[in-house]
């Protein structure tokens, strides 16, 4: 009789099936198709694309910033490969499937290994794309076959280590956070803000400030020294070493052996430690018994109730605020957008045209924030809307409450950011600060109207819904189109965007009465 398949292979096969469920029709041919396309990419496309910039790239690889820059690039990719499984898990932390595994005769380490291996083919595609780019750059230098092979193995070991670490952390967090609503909320909040440090690095590269900084030998030496401790860097030094010693592996023999050996030891050690941690990653033991409790209403909610005119509408508005503000996920969305704007100002701002960031970029970013804030209206499902539909004059009160909520959240944020950013402009005057604030508040208020209208016209009933992403893209794009049409003339732009917003809101109010 045939021996049963190892359990990690059963789990890996299942994971692969889950990830390829969208392409079930071509699943049997998918590996051949992927390998074929990757071969075309590595052999033809990557060299052709790299060929366009080959001279600059070769100069770069032989320059003194090369090691530090390659270290940073590999570090970024390493972090990305680590974060990706974590954010994927945190976005939708579910522990229900754990019971299936825990009730079955399977070791937690087999489940963990299976999850890792099941996802590996997709990470392998990304590794091939990245390694293909690097080999396309280095091949014209005349690297020998052994050097090329070592470089490819370096990429594979580095990034699969990162994927493994991410998979282990994701499993631990899932068990830790997934059992309570509060934990799941924390997970969703973390998933978003975790991306900010990576975005900061990316912006610093895009803005060119990173290359300038690294041109200073002292700074690049410091970066090398710091990053040199991280396993993601060990391969970078080998790669750049090869570029300087073409076809002569013995010239960097000991160094290669040390770095490369260290990388392999790191991979094996992280694999071993991860498998040891697997028991903690798969457990249904409760993590907390402390239930979240609502505090008595403080001054903030009293002010909101007052701003809502008191009475039953004031109570309704306070309820909207509580339901919104008690989700960390919502707060993290605000932090993310504000963080993004700050990073843009730091790394991408043009000192020659400071107003550009304040009056043209910021409104577009705030329009995304508007969708995040008021788009929440449908994200908890249709049932929430039906509560309003059932109540007398419910639809009107929903629209009014959500509009007011959106304005009360967004206006203080935009006023603060606009004021601070304008004050930082050396030529700023009180008039320019007040004018900027006035224009931005009018635009943001229009965006709230527009975003609410769109969110109800094209409702997203779950955070995963594609409609939500569509709305997040449409609102700033509409703003951008109106900006172009108005020729950046605020006297024209503000009324136009208000007009579009009101039209959307009117259409939405009609649709909301008919949603089924």
């Amino acid at each position: 009789m045939e021996l049963p398949a190892p359990k990690w292979l059963v789990v890996a096969k299942n994971e692969y099936r889950v990830y390829t469920s969208r392409i079930r029709g071509i699943r049997p041919y998918f590996p051949y198709l992927a390998i074929g396309l990757l071969a075309v990419y590595v052999l033809f496309i990557a060299p052709a694309v790299i060929g366009l910039f080959i001279d600059d790239l070769l100069v770069f690889f032989l320059s003194q910033v090369a090691i530090a820059m390659v270290q940073i690039i590999l570090f970024m990719i390493f972090v990305y490969f680590t974060i990706f499984p974590i954010t994927n898990t945190l976005k939708d932390t579910q522990t229900e499937l754990l019971e299936l595994f825990l009730a079955a005769p399977i070791k937690p380490s087999d489940v963990l290994l299976g999850e890792f291996l099941g996802q590996m083919p997709f990470y392998a595609i990304a590794v091939t794309v990245i390694a293909g780019l690097f080999t396309a750059i280095l091949a014209p230098l005349g690297l020998d076959v052994v050097q090329m092979a070592v470089i490819i193995i370096i990429f594979a070991v580095t990034f699969f280590s990162a994927q493994w670490i991410g998979t282990v952390i994701a499993a631990l967090l899932r068990t830790r956070l997934g059992k309570t609503a509060r934990g799941r909320d924390i997970g969703k909040a973390l998933a978003l803000v975790m991306a900010l440090p990576m975005i900061a690095l990316m912006y610093s590269m895009m803005g060119g400030s990173l290359l300038e900084t690294l041109a200073n030998p002292g700074t690049s030496g410091m970066v090398q020294a710091v990053l040199g401790w991280l396993p993601s860097s060990w391969g970078a030094e080998v790669i750049v070493g090869f570029a300087s010693n073409l076809g002569n592996i013995s010239a960097v023999g000991l160094e290669t052996l040390t770095r490369f050996g260290g990388l392999v030891v790191f991979f094996v050690a992280s694999l071993w430690l991860g498998l040891k941690a697997a028991n903690r990653a798969y457990s249904l033991e409760p993590t907390t018994f402390i239930a979240s409790r609502a505090m008595p209403d403080g001054a903030f909610y009293k002010i909101i109730r007052y701003l809502g005119g008191g009475g039953s509408f004031g109570t309704l508005l306070v309820s909207v605020f509580k339901n919104y503000g008690r989700r960390l996920e919502n707060i993290s969305k605000i932090a993310y957008v504000v963080g993004l704007l700050i990073l843009m100002n730091i790394f991408l701002g043009d000192p020659e045209h400071p107003q550009y960031m304040v009056l043209e970029v910021a409104p577009l970013i705030f329009s995304v924030l508007a969708v995040f804030v008021v788009g929440e209206v449908t994200l908890r499902g249709k049932e929430g809307l039906f509560i309003y539909r059932k109540a007398p004059s419910g639809v009107g009160r929903l629209v009014k409450a959500r509009l007011l909520h959106g304005l009360l959240v967004l206006v203080p944020i935009t006023v603060t950011i606009t004021a601070v950013r304008t004050i930082l402009i050396p030529s700023a005057t009180l008039i320019s600060v007040l004018t900027n604030i006035g224009i931005i508040v009018l635009i943001v208020a229009a965006n709230v109207v527009l975003a609410l209208g769109l969110s109800l016209l094209n409702p997203a009933f779950t955070a995963k819904s594609g409609n939500f992403m569509v709305n997040v893209m449409i609102v700033p794009q509409l703003g951008f189109v109106i900006l172009i049409i108005s020729g950046s003339n605020w006297g024209l732009y503000v009324p136009l965007i208000w007009f579009v917003g009101i039209v959307f809101l009117y259409l939405e109010a009609r649709k909301l009465r008919n949603i089924e």
Binding site: M1, P4, V10, N14, S21, E96, L97, E99, L100
Partner: protein
């Protein structure tokens, strides 16, 4: 003839929190006999699901001992898992797999030989009326269909002992009737031992040979329905259940209106 106790616990306990102040299961002494259908009843949060998880080796007990078919749940958990099937109360499903693929996966997890597995999956899918939808993704299944698929998954390795946590709660009357008949058949014809938790008293009354009532983690009554009614001096299982676990006093039911009426 002596009846063999296939599930046996002595002082089985599961405590949580600092100093174990939360007693999810507290000193459970229980015997479930081979071939019987045993029902565990209790209010929400009384410890039913924790008991099922303990007896399936999913969580570790704080104290006491328990065996399932002679296997110690603490040190022989894999053996316990092999001989039990579990339908959990709120289990997860792989939405992106088809019904067939899911059962294939579950069969592989429980080491069902491949030559048996395909045929068994087909039989189970036919039995539960899911054969026409075998290649549809689970995300498109109704909650009743999902429940049927999970019952099929619990049966995939043909275990001698079945734990069913709320097996009929999400099913329509027709599917519920089928599942009840299946449970009867599994017990009577196939000789399975069934440990069932349910809120639906008529279902428990109809299917179970004996029942246990658990409240605040403690088993407060065990016996046949008649024995429990006799113990409590009641005329129905519902009355016995309320007598043992407590309920709202009738004259308090409309108390919330009185002040409003008085003030208006």
């Amino acid at each position: 003839m002596t009846v063999k106790a296939v599930i046996k616990s002595e002082g089985l306990s599961k405590y949580y929190g600092k100093g174990g102040e939360i007693r999810a299961v507290d000193g459970l002494d229980l015997e479930v006999y081979e071939g019987e259908t045993f029902g565990l009843l209790g209010p929400n949060g009384s410890g039913k699901t924790t008991t099922v998880r303990l007896l399936n080796g999913i969580i570790k007990p704080t104290g006491g001992i328990a065996t399932v078919n002679g296997f110690d749940i603490f040190i022989q958990e894999n053996e316990v898992k092999r001989i039990t099937g579990l339908l959990a109360e709120s289990p997860g499903l792989y939405d992106k797999l088809s019904g067939y693929e899911f059962l294939e996966f579950m069969g592989a997890l429980y080491d069902v030989p491949e030559e048996i597995l395909k045929e068994r999956i087909d039989e189970l899918l036919k039995l539960f009326g899911l054969h026409d939808r075998r290649d549809h993704l689970i995300e498109g299944y109704s909650s009743g269909m999902k429940q049927k698929l999970l019952i099929a998954a619990a049966l995939i390795h043909d275990p001698p002992i079945l734990f069913l946590d709320e097996p009929t709660s999400t099913l329509d009357p027709r599917a519920s009737h089928m599942v009840k008949e299946l449970i009867e058949e599994l017990a009577d014809t196939a000789g399975k031992t069934i440990f069932m938790c349910s809120h639906l008293l008529p279902v428990v009354e109809e299917l179970c040979d004996r029942i246990g009532i658990i409240n605040n983690g403690r088993l407060i009554a065990v016996g046949t329905v008649k024995e429990i009614m006799a113990q409590t001096g009641t005329q129905s299982l519902e009355d016995a259940f309320i007598a043992l676990t407590g309920g709202v006093i009738e004259n308090e039911l409309l108390a919330w209106r009185e002040n409003g009426i008085a003030s208006s």
